[in-house]
């Protein structure tokens, strides 16, 4: 996972697979970065995610709640068809801006 901060905007480049087993480590790392950088916008980049189940929804919802405490926004980018399908099913577009991949 790569993290890039430009003051207001924190971008997290997720990598690999998101399931219940792997989500825990990602969650901790993202939350640590949120606490440290206090961004006004968090961008989660799914470009390097090869698999995701509903644990990914939990991951996004949890970070949304975390950001909301400071009035920060969340954006999801580079979602492939399958990830997009799962996000839509959960109605995540009501919580975050979603941008599909190319």
């Amino acid at each position: 996972m790569q993290i890039n901060s430009t003051g207001e905007v924190l971008t997290v480049y997720l990598k690999g697979e998101i399931d219940h087993h792997l989500a825990r480590g990602m969650r901790e790392e993202i939350d640590k970065a949120i606490d440290y950088y206090m961004p006004s916008l968090l961008i989660l980049d799914f470009g390097e995610i090869s698999f995701m189940d509903s644990s990914g929804i939990g991951l996004v919802m949890g970070r949304y709640k975390n950001l909301k405490k400071n009035g920060a926004k969340l954006s999801l980018v580079n979602l492939n068809e399958n990830i997009y399908k799962i996000m839509k099913l959960a109605g995540i577009e009501r919580l975050a801006e979603i941008e599909k991949g190319a």
Binding site: D19, R27, F51, D53, S54, I57, G58
Partner: protein
């Protein structure tokens, strides 16, 4: 006609979620599925197996039994069974957003399975365990052309 099938018995460690879905997906490739179908199968298996490790055996490691069979007309049947605590109210458990799994669980496991498979049935007995049976018809890539 002889049908193809396999069974798999794994401990409910969360690291086995990946092994389970990849194994079922590999078995399904015999049906010549599309990439989207493979992804739907992997996701659904991941949901069912995660339910076992999170809910069926919350404080211990139990056994998860996965069996797959190819039925006629290119239908893949996947059964995920545990001998865990059982589900008190199946209707409620299947409701989207219902979860007993805490903050980080979305409560969408069954909703995801239902949206990706043709049918999902759940049988459960308190203290005995739960069986989730999913079916999906695979449209052969070649036939689509």
């Amino acid at each position: 006609m002889e049908t193809n099938k396999f069974t798999l018995k794994i401990p409910s460690r969360s690291c086995n979620e990946s092994f389970a879905r990849v194994t079922v997906a590999a078995f399904a490739t015999g049906l010549d599925p599309t990439l989207e179908e493979i992804s739907d199968i992997k996701t659904s298996v991941s949901e069912a197996v995660t339910n076992c490790s999170v809910h069926a055996y919350p404080n211990s490691i139990g056994v998860i039994y996965i069996s797959c069979e190819i039925l006629k007309d290119n239908v893949l049947k996947i059964k995920v069974r545990d001998k865990g605590c059982g589900i008190a109210d199946i209707e409620q458990a299947r409701q989207p957003l219902f979860t007993t799994g805490g903050e980080e669980r979305a409560g969408l496991g069954f909703a995801v399975m239902e949206s990706m498979m043709d049918s999902v049935s759940v049988r459960s007995k308190m203290g005995k365990g739960t069986t989730v049976t999913m079916k999906k018809k695979i449209n052969r890539k070649d036939d689509a052309r």
